[in-house]
C-alpha cells in the first residue's frame, strides 16, 4: 500500500471517481461559475478526504487543511446555488412541459441521481469537518 487510506476510504474514492466522470460528461454549461466550482468541489473534496487518513503535525499544514476545506465547502455551495447550473436548465425544460405526473416521477429520480452523484464529495467534506474540529482544538482557536 502506497498510502494510508483505509479500505472504506477507497470505496468512497471509487464512488467519487464514478460520479466525477459522470457529472463531467453530462455537464452542458461549460466555463461558467458552476462548471468551475463543480470541478473545484470534486478535486478539493478528494484532497481533504485523502488527507483525512494522515496525521497533520505542523501548524501550517493544519491551517492549510482548514483553508482548503473552507474553499471546498464554498465551491459546493456555489455549484448547487449558482443560477447557471445544469439543474436550472433542466428545471426550465420542465416548466415548459405539461405532464405533471411525469414531472413528479422525474424529479424523484433526479433527486436520487443527485444524491448518488454528489454524496461522495459531501461525505468527504463531512469527514474533513470532523477532523477539522480536532484541528481547531489543537490549534487553540476554540
Amino acid at each position: 500500500m502506497l498510502t494510508e487510506i483505509e479500505w472504506w476510504g477507497g470505496i468512497i474514492f471509487i464512488w467519487w471517481a464514478f460520479s466525477y466522470w459522470f457529472v463531467f460528461k453530462e455537464w452542458t454549461v461549460e466555463m461558467s461559475v458552476s462548471f468551475i466550482s463543480m470541478n473545484l468541489s470534486y478535486i478539493l473534496s478528494a484532497f481533504v478526504l485523502a488527507l483525512y487518513f494522515y496525521p497533520l503535525e505542523s501548524i501550517d499544514i493544519k491551517y492549510a487543511y482548514l483553508i482548503v476545506l473552507a474553499i471546498a465547502i464554498v465551491s459546493i455551495l456555489l455549484m448547487f446555488f449558482w443560477p447557471d447550473t445544469n439543474k436550472s436548465l433542466e428545471e426550465e425544460g420542465k416548466n415548459e412541459s405539461d405532464d405533471s405526473e411525469l414531472n413528479d416521477d422525474d424529479s424523484s429520480d433526479e433527486l436520487i441521481g443527485q444524491v448518488f452523484l454528489f454524496s461522495p464529495m459531501v461525505i468527504g467534506c463531512l469527514l474533513a469537518l470532523f477532523k477539522s474540529l480536532d484541528l481547531i482544538k489543537e490549534i487553540g482557536l476554540i
Partner: protein, 262 residues
C-alpha cells in the same frame, strides 16, 4: 461524368501582387508557360501542376479589387488548400471558394482570411466591398447550411493536417477491408462473422485491461488487499461481459435495420 464546379475569388490589397497573380492565371490560360512561370516565381506560388492535371474548363476574369477563377475538378478532389496557403504566404488577403457538388446538387462556400478559414461575416468585415462583390459575382443561398461556418477560425495549416490524417485513415480502412476479404477468402468464413469475432476479442481485451488498471490502482492506493483482489475479479467478469454485450447489441441492431430495409 460528375464533376465539381469551383469559383475562387481572390482579394489583394497590394496592387502589384494583384497584378502578378492575375497575369500568372492569364498566361496559364493562354498556354504561355514561360511567362506564367515568370509571374509564378514573382509571386512565389506554383499552380501549374494543378492547372494542367487537376483543374479543367478554367476561366479567368478580374476587376481592380478582385480576381475570379472558375474551374472544374473531379468529384474526389479536395479543397486547393496548399495553393491557398502559398497564396496567403505571398500577399493574398482573403479568398472565397464556392463549390457546386454536381453529384449531390449542393453548394458549399468557404471564406478565408490571413491563412484561416473564417465565417462570412468576418470576411465581409475585413474586406471592403466584399459583400457587394459577392452579391454580384456569386449566387445567394437561401439555405444557410451552404455557407461553411466555424465556431473559431481554423488555420489552413490545421486543415491540411486534418485532411492528411483523414486520407491516411481512409487508406488504412481500405487496406484493412481488403485484408479482411483476403482472410475470409482463405479461411472460407463469412467476413461479418470474422469482424464480429475480432470485435468481441477486442472488447474482451478492453474489459480485461480496465479491470487490471482498477485492480492495480486500488491494491496500490488503498488498504484491504483481499477486498480489492475480490472486487477486481468481479470487475474482470463484469467488464468483459459488458463490453461483449455491447458488441452483440450493435450487431443485433444492424441485423434488425437490414431486415427492416428488406
Amino acid at each position: 461524368m460528375s464533376q465539381n464546379s469551383h469559383t475562387l475569388l481572390l482579394f489583394y490589397k497590394d496592387k502589384q501582387q494583384h497584378k502578378n497573380c492575375l497575369l500568372m492565371f492569364l498566361k496559364l490560360n493562354d498556354g504561355d508557360k514561360e511567362k506564367a512561370k515568370y509571374f509564378s516565381n514573382l509571386l512565389g506560388v506554383d499552380v501549374e501542376n494543378h492547372w494542367d492535371n487537376v483543374w479543367f474548363n478554367q476561366e479567368v476574369s478580374a476587376k481592380p479589387d478582385y480576381i475570379r477563377l472558375d474551374y472544374d475538378t473531379s468529384t474526389s478532389e479536395d479543397l486547393p488548400l496548399e495553393i491557398l496557403r502559398s497564396l496567403f504566404k505571398n500577399g493574398l488577403d482573403a479568398a472565397i471558394l464556392d463549390i457546386f457538388h454536381d453529384q449531390v446538387g449542393e453548394y458549399s462556400r468557404h471564406h478565408f482570411i490571413d491563412n484561416k478559414l473564417v465565417n462570412k461575416e468576418a470576411l465581409y468585415k475585413s474586406i471592403e466591398n466584399a459583400k457587394k462583390i459577392v452579391s454580384l459575382q456569386l449566387q445567394t443561398f437561401d439555405d444557410e447550411e451552404s455557407y461553411v461556418t466555424v465556431e473559431d477560425e481554423i488555420s489552413i495549416n490545421k486543415l491540411i493536417e486534418d485532411e492528411k490524417k483523414h486520407n491516411e485513415e481512409a487508406k488504412e480502412m481500405v487496406s484493412s477491408i481488403l485484408e479482411l476479404g483476403k482472410i475470409s477468402n482463405e479461411t472460407g468464413t463469412n467476413p461479418i462473422e470474422l469482424v464480429k469475432s475480432v470485435l468481441i476479442l477486442r472488447a474482451a481485451g478492453k474489459g480485461l485491461l480496465q479491470a487490471l488498471i482498477f485492480g492495480i490502482t486500488t491494491v496500490l492506493l488503498f488498504k484491504g488487499f483481499w477486498l480489492w483482489i475480490v472486487l477486481s475479479l468481479f470487475a474482470v467478469f463484469f467488464l468483459i461481459s459488458y463490453h461483449i454485450s455491447q458488441v452483440n447489441k450493435e450487431f443485433i441492431d444492424e441485423e434488425e435495420v437490414v431486415s427492416d430495409v428488406n
